[in-house]
């Protein structure tokens, strides 16, 4: 059993991949709690797609992909925030317009490159085993900043998520905090781009947090549980992909999905099975 776990670590790409998987799983899941509690899943998915032009430009110019993605992620987070705040366009409509348009621009730009298909697959589905030491440092640095912000603005973000009107009534700097959260989500997406890619990124944000919500009753424990589920699912998924030779990103997402399915059925008191049992005994 131990050999089974240790053997893959003989390869540098494998332990780098595992390290990235753990970090990404942790950071995404923590921020994902706010994403699901505020019903921002669609926003998160859209934001992941809108950064494509930034990634492509960085790729064409030869910059680190994260730089282009970060610039575009922050810009589109602010753009969506501004467009929906004016109230003339519904927020989900604004997101839809920017999301599709930006994604199309990215694909159009990428299609000028000869290795179009390979590059697109890489960007859409990630390649955790291709993580470089530099990528790891970038992930660690940006992730630390995001987690510190979550910690320092914990009570403000909690109020904004639970009762946005109270946040206004208490005169919290609601706009600033909202943009800060959007930018933090953008950064998180950029971090996980290399690992699972654009198409599956949403699972990193949403799935572990959704499972954790069924298991916990306070936000700090929900965040910790989500982080644990995210990191463990990613590691398990990576091992599975190594041994049965399937793509690593989908493997990680499938493990997290399985964990969610199990909690949905068996979570104490709130799982489907328990509620059925309670109904029968009542």
């Amino acid at each position: 059993m131990l050999d089974w776990l240790i053997e893959p670590l003989g390869y540098g790409f494998m332990w780098r991949g595992l390290l990235a998987a753990v970090m990404v799983g942790t950071i995404c899941s923590v921020l994902g709690t706010y994403v699901i509690l505020q019903g921002m899943a669609f926003f998160g998915d859209a934001l992941a797609h809108t950064i494509l032009p930034g990634v492509v430009i960085a790729y064409l110019v030869g910059w680190p992909l994260a730089v282009g993605a970060l610039i575009f992620g922050v810009l589109s987070a602010i753009g969506i925030g501004a467009l929906s705040q004016r109230g003339e366009v519904r927020e989900d409509t604004a997101i839809g317009v920017i999301f599709a348009g930006s994604f199309a621009l990215g694909v159009a730009m990428l299609s000028t490159v000869r290795s179009y298909a390979v590059d697109l697959a890489h960007i859409l589905f990630g390649d955790v085993l291709g993580v470089s030491p530099t990528d790891l440092w970038v992930t660690a640095g940006l992730g630390a900043v995001v987690l510190l912000l979550v910690y320092f603005f914990y009570k403000e973000f909690l109020v904004m998520a639970f009762d946005p009107t109270l946040a206004v009534v208490l005169r919290l700097p609601v706009k600033t905090l909202r943009y800060l959260l959007l930018i933090m989500i953008a950064v998180t997406i950029v971090i996980s781009l290399q690992t699972v890619g654009m198409a599956l990124m949403l699972a990193m944000l949403v799935t572990p947090a959704a499972a954790a919500q069924l298991l916990t009753r306070r936000l700090p424990t929900m965040m910790a549980t989500a982080a644990g589920i995210g990191a463990l699912s990613n590691v398990t998924g990576l091992y599975i992909s190594y041994y049965i030779n399937i793509a690593s990103g989908p493997a990680m997402v499938l493990v997290a999905t399985a964990v969610f399915a199990l909690t949905f059925l068996f979570a104490p008191a709130r799982g489907l099975v328990w509620r059925r049992l309670a109904l029968q005994t009542a």
């Binding site: 009107t165 009534v169 005169r171």
Partner: protein
């Protein structure tokens, strides 16, 4: 916009708790409040009544500062409303996600967030205030429960504890009794009368004219404009009701007294209720809403 550390404003103890002057506001393109002026003394408990779309929610949103009026001024304790963190509010029940992972104590502590300030943690005094507020509303034994595990009346009490912990002075309650059973309503009303003793100023939006008349000192009859404002006996006259409820209301003169029939409803999808309203003339108005 990037003001991370706003400074709370000071109160003028001699000024009314709340003053509106010529406030006109639009909401979703329609005129929701038209030249509304009123002044609420400190410690008064004022019911805000009126038909659907009368502007009750808009009025509250303007007082909290969520909406800015197109014209007119709002003053809270002499200044404002920007910078005041003394406005407490109890949300309508359907605005809250009850699955949210917070305990009762967490919800009440949210009231302290404004006073604790950015980048700081709640201290001993904040925790004490939360505890005091919870025991004030008889919810201390439930402090560690998740908010969704409580009954509707208990949840409402938790939100009242939150405004107490906030040390709010002007409280806005939007339909605080809607959908609650009688014992829960009574528990809430008891807490509201304790708040009167503490000289808190309350504005309560409600559809229940009867309860409004019985429980609260003053009444504002609103229909975009202030139709009448004063003690319930002066406000609830057939003329005033007819002016406020307009086409939604019909006054019938019968042998047993005036019957007022209205088909306005509460938007909450509540079943039709028939209520009896006593007026100053001693006649009985029957208000049936559907």
């Amino acid at each position: 916009m990037f003001d991370l550390f706003p400074r709370p404003v000071l109160h003028d103890a001699t000024a009314p708790a709340l003053e509106l002057e010529g406030v006109t506001a639009r909401y979703d393109g329609t005129l929701a409040l038209d030249n509304v002026s009123l002044s609420v003394r400190r410690g008064d408990q004022v019911a805000v009544v009126g038909p659907n779309g009368a502007g009750k929610s808009t009025l509250f949103n303007i007082i909290t500062g969520i909406l800015k009026p197109q014209q007119g001024t709002v003053r809270i304790a002499g200044s404002g409303p920007d910078g005041h963190i003394c406005v407490g509010y109890v949300p309508q029940r359907n605005r809250i996600d009850w699955r949210f992972p917070v305990t009762v104590a967490d919800v009440v502590m949210m009231g302290r967030v404004g006073k604790v300030g950015m980048l700081r943690r709640p201290g001993k005094r904040d925790r004490q205030l939360v505890e005091d507020a919870l025991s004030e509303v008889d919810m201390l034994p439930f402090a560690r429960r998740q908010i969704g595990e409580l009954s509707g009346g208990q949840q409402q009490r938790v939100f009242l504890a939150r405004v107490l912990a906030q040390e709010a002075e002007l409280l806005l309650l939007d339909e605080p009794l809607a959908g609650l059973d009688i014992p829960s309503q009574e528990a809430i009303l008891r807490i509201l009368s304790q708040m009167r003793a503490a000289r808190l100023t309350l504005l309560i939006a409600t559809h229940d004219l009867n309860q409004a008349a019985e429980q609260f000192d003053q009444m504002i009859l609103l229909n975009r404009r202030v139709v009448a404002y004063g003690p319930a006996a002066q406000v609830l006259t057939t003329e005033n009701l007819a002016r406020a409820y307009g086409g939604q209301l019909h006054v019938l003169h019968t042998l047993t007294g005036d019957v007022v029939v209205t088909d306005s409803c509460c938007g909450g999808g509540e079943p039709p209720v028939a209520q009896l309203v006593g007026t100053s003339e001693g006649t009985t108005d029957r208000v049936a809403s559907s």
